[in-house]
Amino acid sequence: MIYEKYIKVLYIDMDTKRIRIEQRKDLIEYLGGVGVASKLLEENMKPELSPLDESQPIVFAIGAGSAIFPVITKTVAMFISPLTGELGESYAGGRMALTLFLAGYDAIVIHGKAKKPSYITINRNNVEIKDARAFWGMDSDEIGRVVRDREPGGGKRSIIRIGPAGENMVSYASVCVDTYRHFGRLGLGAVMGSKNLKAISIVGDRSIPIKNFKDYFKVYQEIYNRVTDTEIMSKYHDAGTPINIEPLNAAGGLPTKNLRQNVFEHGDKISGEAFAHKNLVRKMACTGCPVGCIHIGQFRREFDKGHEYESVSVGYDYELLFALGSFIGIKSSDEILQLIEKVEHLGMDAMSTGVVLGWATEAFMKKLVTEEQTLVPLAFGNTANYVKAIEYIAYKRNDFYKALSEGVDKASDIYGGKEFAMAFAKNEMAGYHTGYGMILGSAAGARHSHLCNGGYSVDQSMKEFNKEKLVDAIFAEEKERCMLNSLIICLFARKVYDRKTIIAALNSIGYAITDEELTAIGDRIYKTKLRIKKALGFKLADVKLPKRLFETPSLSGQLDEGISYELIDMYNRKLEEFTAG
């Protein structure tokens, strides 16, 4: 908590409805964000029990700089992932960080399972667990509307909620935050569902005076000007991350049709340019961000006969265009938006959903599964049948779709096709077939996401392939991001927040912190995550890579399986030295 020497943690037991608050001085050495959340997860998790056991915790935390400086907008959620069975970590923007900050909490730990469907309301004076029986079954949009209508605090409120996929405990169910942001990856939605927790509404209405306003404002202005007056972040506002489609497609790094191809023949129809010309209607920002990177696209839908149309608005970014576009062969921006809307309403991670559908389509093509199991003939590019399949997954329509609801790793355990089940350590791949950096970064990353260490970015910046340098770069970036995520900076702004800027920012609000201490915090957090992973049974040496990665050329050319495993082994030895030290 700003100007305090403790971390304020709100504990909520869904079963007993007991609420307590602790002021944890011992957590200050983790600074905030992912540091605090990792420690709280480690303290509260039950490694011997299922990820969806009611006694498992959900932890939310804001960072040491949340809502105080520009582009520090994220909240972290930590949990045991029902998808991977190990470390679950996910970030969301929107208004949640600001409202938690102004409600006066640094972190929330939620335990237990409510006896009936419930939602939680949190403000600075009161926490309540309320009846949500009438809301169970609602999609992410509807439940947002209902809570907005029922609960006061509009304008200073954040509402996070799950859809039917979370209720049905799909292993990669997401949590919708303020309509256009999400805790997307690794299945936080299923963990909320397992607790009968449909939504959380947070109202933050405190006012916190800044003590040394002159110093603070000087640093704030410098950061703000770098964000708004330089080119560092303008690309994120302009076309946004969908700009990636064109370069990745031209260079042979765009995963297409379950990575049977690295180039999409219809790439020009789903590029950032195509969306900007045809669908883009609005740009939005998380609270406290002057960039506005959230791109909202619109498509037209006939909802009744007689030319009855509605216009439907959904958010889009690169990962969604890859997963629900090129990866399943969808060749128009309108159709991609239609698929995004479907996963949004049902409350599923778009990336995992797309990759699962890619595997299912190839499994069907190769006759590993029949139409009796898939219920509709799955084919790359067939949007109408994918819309149905997404719904079948969310409701676990039959044994096949139940398997799909547990991810490609589980589905390929049952039906075969492991060689084209595109996951890293059970987490479905991100949209970058860029080279060894992406493979190592995803395999070794704490949550097996491209966001752990930006492996795709290392592939792009390395002038010459060198195994040692690659391993060192991924390792250094993973630790640095642990530190950045203790603040919690939006990673789009990582070039703005260099060490000097971070130190100046923290110093201006009373944290006397040095460069060495920031390094130590990053190390401490990474070690905590590694302890959690070990306790949950994860062994990097056991990771198996899908053969498809080595059959389809990447942006860096044809990749070698042996070199990939060698890199993982080198990283593993580095981790052994790190954790022993």
Binding site: E231, K235, A239, T241, Y432, G454, S457, F492
Partner: protein, 76 residues
Amino acid sequence: MRINVDVISWFTRFTGGKSRLELDLPPGTNAGAAVLVTGIPEDEIGFITVNGQKAEKEQLLAEGDSLKVYPLIIGG
């Protein structure tokens, strides 16, 4: 020698709004140098294709070659 350079719309902010440029360059010019003539800053360039094939900046150009310039991949 005459070289055509196509840029995606993001880069038109550096090229005076033009998405296609025709350059007249001395023989022996390489792809990286040709792109810099357009005004696109070096640190903005992700990669270049020459006649549709990904090319190194050092690749020497020939009369009539078509270049396309792409930005760096961005994200978290």
